[in-house]
């Protein structure tokens, strides 16, 4: 899969509150799909679809233990997204540097809100 498609998938996977919650829970510790499914007001199959999408986005990793699949969050993928956002910010910063807009530094840049 091309890099851009993987990036599409990463952001798309996080564009849903249920999936974000699954990632958050599995960052804390491993969960089976059934135990995850018990937390959401939707069918088991729906949760399973969410987990499958998260796996394709490499935001979670599954490992089988007997009849159960245990799911754990993958912090490396979060760091990948982080790095992409850093690129956006770097472009914005280079714009300020280029124009040398002194007023720009008055924009609460990284400061108090």
């Amino acid at each position: 899969m091309a890099a851009q498609e993987q990036v599409d998938l990463l952001f798309h996977a996080l564009a849903d509150a249920t999936r974000r919650d699954i990632v958050m829970r599995t960052m804390q510790g491993e969960h089976s799909i059934s135990s995850l499914a018990r937390s959401y007001a939707m069918s088991f199959a729906a949760v399973q679809k969410h987990v499958a999408l998260l796996e394709r986005a490499e935001l979670v990793i599954k490992r089988r233990q007997g009849r159960e699949q245990l799911v754990r969050g993958n912090v490396e993928a979060i760091r990948d997204v982080h790095a992409l956002l850093d690129q956006f910010e770097a472009v914005w910063r280079s714009r300020i540097d280029r124009f040398g807009e002194i007023l720009a530094t008055d924009w609460n840049e990284g400061g108090t809100t």
Copy 2:
């Protein structure tokens, strides 16, 4: 709009290569919708839809200048996404701290790759 819906929108807006490119270009400097549209192999109306979605996600800001709308990137929204990702990483870190897995610290944590 609820906070979670806005987060959905933010990640969804970034889940498309064309929209990411629009954000990147407008982080560098203001562009009219027409000048943006000339960069992509799709209709003007399609690009306009993308810009509208980015505006709803607050990733870009529009200002009218005569008959043109000038679009500029909004780094604050990028920082909002950043902060969300930091929360995921914080949860992952607290898991490591809780278990006190010494081996975990050998995982190139924040170090050389």
